[in-house]
């Protein structure tokens, strides 16, 4: 009996050790990838942000110079402001996609067709979309102004005017992202149990009350997910800017923060300064995400 125990115990731990080794080997590849291509560059970015570095010579430590320089750099502040301004599109997109999802959640024909059509811009390459919209925003011959002309409005030269370039980018981004949020909202709407609405209707709740008190709270996780991912994505807006306004737009009015980092790093070879700005960007994204998660936890909601 005792010998039996003694014999199986080392055998089992040997099996376990073997399992640990194999598991480690399986996990090793993504782990090494993470250490090499994410963690190491991140730590190096932190270090480089405290240096003066042109990418050719070795980085020279210069303390907080880059961070101080940022506060006095009107281009940095402007590009931060522009990036923030462009996020106005996020709530607009959420409201529109919610309305679309409510429309598509009805029992009627053509749902699949509409779902596909609204999703096409989402899968399309943003570079091609930006090129198309640049042409559509052409002041004289673009699609947008041609359509406006039909109703007697003389449209501006969208991308060349500092007052219209940001709305133009917001409209395009909303158009492109609408299908994605719509799809997630639609999936959430379809999983709301019907009996909640039936019970509310019995209690005399109208359509708006049902929407306000059942639908909105039930889709809150999706709203939360969309807000977080939209802010993370929106703060990194680059491709549209790079293609549609290659020089940062009229009076620098469409330059985003990633566009400015990219330009400082790879055109002006201010690698140290660009690293510092990229660290600030990373920190902002981190803080916003943490705040979002906090708020979400506090507003936990459930219907019993």
């Amino acid at each position: 009996m005792s010998t039996e125990v003694l014999r199986t115990k080392p055998r089992r731990s040997r099996l376990h050790r073997r399992e640990h080794q194999v598991a480690l080997a399986f996990i090793a590849i993504p782990l090494i990838g993470f250490l090499l291509f994410t963690l190491y560059p991140l730590l190096y970015s932190v270090y480089a942000s405290f240096t003066s570095w042109n990418g050719l010579a070795a980085p020279k430590f210069n303390g907080f110079d880059n961070y101080i320089k940022m506060w006095n750099d009107p281009y940095f502040l402007k590009s931060m402001w522009n990036t923030l301004f462009l996020m106005i599109g996020i709530p607009i997109g959420l409201v529109l996609s919610m309305a679309l999802a409510l429309g598509l959640n009805r029992r009627m024909r053509g749902i699949t067709f509409f779902r596909t059509v609204y999703y096409i811009p989402v899968i399309s390459s943003i570079a091609a979309i930006a090129i198309m919209w640049q042409w559509a925003y052409n002041g004289d011959f673009g699609l947008i102004n041609q359509v406006l002309d039909l109703v007697g409005i003389q449209g501006p030269n969208w991308l060349a005017d500092k007052d219209t370039v940001k709305p133009a980018l917001i409209i395009m981004a909303t158009w492109k992202g609408l299908g994605y949020s719509m799809l997630l909202y639609l999936a959430a709407l379809q999983s709301v149990p019907r009996y909640l609405y039936e019970a509310a209707a019995l209690d005399g709740a109208g359509t708006w009350q049902q929407f306000r008190n059942i639908t909105l709270p039930m889709v809150r996780p999706v709203t939360f997910f969309l807000v977080v991912t939209s802010i993370i994505g929106g703060s990194q807006i680059f491709i549209e800017i790079n293609i549609m306004t290659p020089l940062g737009g009229p009076e620098f009015s469409s330059a985003s923060i990633v566009w400015y980092i990219w330009r400082q790093a790879f055109n002006n070879l201010h690698m140290g300064y660009a690293s510092a700005m990229s660290i600030v960007l990373g920190l902002i994204i981190f803080i916003v995400t943490v705040i979002q998660f906090r708020l979400n936890r506090r507003n936990q909601f459930s219907i019993d």
Binding site: I29, F34, L42, M108, I129, M132, A187, Q236, S275, L281
Partner: protein
């Protein structure tokens, strides 16, 4: 007619109807009771089903207008790509090109490195997603089904890495690849992807939680190695989830722009997205918009075709996971 269970057939206003929810015949008294239950319906001359149908008509009209807005720019692009140089400046605008010039789609191949762009994009997206999917799924298997100390800590660390934006790490990454002489090659775009994709690992791990441990234990007792278990049991089980993630990832790499623009300078080495962007920069000054639009449309087409073919799987996977790739 599968809808007949949820929707009653055609109803004339005022005729007795079957309540779709309750199934009660609508006597006048019953209808009054219902009208009291839903205050907004009181005094309304139409029955609830008729109103629902009218609502459907209204919603269909609004959604159709929206669909025109969604497709308008794409159709306009296609229309422009078939126009002569003069026709793009015609006033009023031509919605249907006159004459239709298919030559733009021939001209475009010699006007720039479009073909090599497609080839490069295929090489990058193909290699990354094929190899990366295998490494990701093997890792997902280990994370979901195998015992290892600190397994969850490692997984959480990888997940936390998602919060680090690419711009924050792109400068040192570029310097490392510059040091080993990989700038202006496709390698910096390919190699990091070969190590797998934490989003895919995450979703495959979730998916594997539904596979019972007992079949793995049974295979172990039969003396199967872990690799055998993976290829014989796990891989077939996760194939549907993998396929959807694979397509989403492929489209994401295909559409990538920031990493290629940092690493690739020589026109013949650029990926498709960069090629069309330089078409745009180069030919806009000559106002050769038909050519630019033809190139852009060609760049859109592969992903569009993949989407139309796999739209059910793609849409279901996105709706289920929220993963965009």
């Amino acid at each position: 007619m599968s809808t007949s269970t949820s929707l009653p057939g055609p109803v004339q206003a005022g005729a007795p109807l079957l309540d779709p929810q309750g199934g009660l015949p609508g006597s006048p008294a019953d209808r009054r009771r219902r009208a009291n239950r839903t205050p907004d319906a009181s005094g309304h001359p139409l029955t609830r089903t008729t109103r629902y149908k009218l609502g459907n008509v209204l919603v269909t009209i609004i959604l159709s207008l929206g669909a025109i807005v969604m497709l308008g720019p794409l159709l306009w692009t296609f229309s422009t790509s078939l126009k002569t140089h003069d026709a793009i400046f015609a006033l009023p605008p031509q919605w249907i090109p006159d004459p239709v010039v298919w030559e733009n789609y021939l001209r475009v191949w010699s006007a720039g490195p479009l073909l090599s762009g497609i080839r490069n994009s295929l090489i990058v997206a193909g290699t990354v997603t094929v190899v990366g999917s295998i490494t990701s799924s093997v890792a997902a298997f280990a994370f979901a089904k195998m015992r290892m100390p600190f397994k969850n800590a490692v997984f959480l660390m990888l997940l936390a890495g998602l919060m680090i934006p690419f711009p924050t790490i792109m400068i040192p990454q570029f310097m490392v690849f510059a040091e080993i002489g990989w700038v202006d090659t496709l390698l910096p775009l390919i190699v990091p992807g070969l190590f797998g994709n934490i989003i895919m690992i995450f979703f495959l791990k979730q998916y594997l939680e539904n596979v019972p441990d007992s079949i793995i234990e049974a295979a172990k007792l039969d003396g199967a190695s872990y690799l055998q278990i993976f290829f014989r049991l796990i891989f077939p089980a996760i194939r549907p989830a993998m396929a959807a993630q694979f397509i989403l990832w492929f489209m994401a790499v295909w559409n990538d722009y920031l990493a290629p623009i940092i690493y690739l300078n020589t026109p013949e080495k650029q990926t498709l997205q960069l090629v069309i962007a330089s078409f745009n920069a180069q030919y806009a000054s000559q106002t050769d918009y038909p050519l630019i639009m033809a190139a852009s449309f060609i760049a859109l087409l592969p992903v569009l075709i993949v989407f139309i073919i796999f739209q059910r799987q793609i849409i279901e996977s996105v709706a289920l996971t929220g993963g965009k790739g």
